[in-house]
Symmetry: C2
Subunit: 317 residues, 2 copies
């Protein structure tokens, strides 16, 4: 469930555009107004506000925000107001340009979106960057990471409810053999993770659990420290089957490490507030014995903090 | 250009459905009527006839045809009247079930369709077979053929006109190095063929031509005999950049080998009659000093021959 809260009565997009224009006027900027409006509108409403703003004031709202805001607050508002498809295309492009084998953004977008959402991101990428996601990722990734990331970002996974139990049993065994023999880069392991439906994989991981009395994700997590490829495999397995577990960990690390990782914090909040942030918050509470809202309050400040809290407060508000 | 000829005035779909029903009535079957109607209707018109037939007679036209016709004639009419997307999904499924490393149907569908067409085939495959093309191909293909076919069938290629000349220059060199060192299964060669846009690849192959005074496709063809993987690479390169060259060769071999290969002949005619069969015929004439129509006339017979000729005659009619 989403944490985004939209007021019962939403002003029309033209009124919101006027209020934002007013917030930018004069010497100071009315940051509260910006957060109150944009932090409480859904993707469709934000798109309409951007359209209305461009029509009335002849400038992209993103450009105006860029002139008025700065640093983490600017990044959070910018990433948030983009249409989810456009935002993902931008995140993919940033990940490609600042290539790092420890960056899991591509995995998030390939695995924690629906097949249709991923396809639309690829269409948006074509329109904006005049290349395909596949060619850009394939040209940057190297070695075994390429063998994992390219099929992951390419596949159009089946999303129906059908599962094949005997396939799940045999593939759970293959996964376990690969873990036992530390053959993490094995083709069969990659084939299973990059082509099977999420529902099928959930059953395969269940079979793994029942047969070997341990979890596939935990078996990966146990050896992921300092091992970029296994860490990527863990991210894949979690994003596909239990994204709340994955995103909880990213949030926890972004807050608890020395110096907040604002990039990760902002990305997870902006991409999940309209999707499953309530569930991520529940997982966070179970793992940390404290609420995400409390930790974000303690770890961030100013307008950036206010923006994040507007998006994640949800039923805590 | 297509060879399919649709009459200037087309009966409405309900009239066509009635005429077909009439052709099935009584003791004999009026094969001429079936060919006259179905051999001269485009994909949209054939879909409407199937709809009208199902509504009026409570049976799928495919089922009725299956009861009345047989062998090559049945196969040709059946494959032809399917919607191109549905037909490709069926061809993919057949190729997966009767797996053979020398079967190039998957390559045709992955490379000689537009990106949107390929995506729709994958959607149709989900609906019909309750699995993804990717998982079925990955589960059947082995070794280096898997490394080629899975990305080929997965990729959503960019289709805009933009090309990057310096990328074309450097990738032409990579391709040439791989050919020179016989490293046909090299990852970089596979990366280039499976991710770059067709327009970009056309320029890369041009650069190859200019720099090395030989053609990439011909360099592959020269060593393809008896080498399944190189033969697959040749099919990929041709289907992407010069499908007329590829399909001419498939037609030539299907006709000229001892005993006609009706499966290939039927497939190429059914899948290209509405696309580029005029161009394939021109290429055929240049290569063989005889027309495709002449050779099909000499090599086939009966209603099967009449069906193929209805579809390929085009401006020769």
């Amino acid at each position: 469930m989403a944490t985004l809260r939209v007021p019962a009565t939403v002003p029309n997009p033209s009124e919101d555009a006027d209020a934002l224009h007013q917030a930018f006027a004069g010497w100071g900027t009315d940051e509260n107004m910006i957060i109150t409006i944009l932090g409480h509108r859904n993707a469709a409403q934000r798109n309409l506000i951007r359209q209305a703003y461009a029509e009335k004031y002849g400038e992209d709202l993103l450009k105006s925000l860029n002139d008025e805001l700065s640093q983490d607050f600017l990044r959070a508002i910018t990433i948030w107001i983009l249409d989810p498809t456009e935002r993902d295309a931008l995140l993919v492009n940033e990940a490609v340009k600042k290539w790092s084998p420890t960056n899991h953004v591509l995995i998030e977008i390939a695995c924690a979106r629906t097949s249709t959402e991923l396809f639309r991101v690829k269409q948006a990428y074509h329109s904006k960057y005049k290349r395909s996601v596949e060619e850009d990722v394939a040209a940057h990734a190297k070695g075994s990471l390429r063998k994992l990331l390219v099929p992951l970002i390419s596949v159009y996974r089946y999303e129906g409810p059908e599962v094949n139990i005997s396939v799940a049993e045999s593939e759970a065994k293959i996964l376990h053999e690969m873990i036992e023999s530390k053959s993490y880069e094995d083709e069969e392991l990659i084939r299973i993770l990059t082509t099977r439906s999420k529902t099928q994989l959930a059953v395969t991981f269940d079979q793994y659990n029942q047969t070997f009395e341990t979890s596939f994700e935990k078996d990966l997590e146990g050896v992921a420290e300092g091992h970029d490829f296994v860490s990527a495999l863990w991210a894949v397995a979690c994003c596909l089957v239990s994204p709340n577990v994955y995103f909880e960990k990213i949030l926890r690390l972004s807050i608890h490490r020395l110096g907040t990782d604002e990039e990760a914090l902002t990305r997870v909040v902006a991409t999940r507030a309209e999707v499953d942030m309530e569930m991520i918050k529940e997982t966070y509470f179970k793992k940390n014995n404290t609420t995400l809202v409390h930790d974000v309050q303690g770890d961030t400040s100013g307008d950036y903090k206010a923006t994040l809290l507007a998006l994640i407060a949800g039923s805590d508000a």
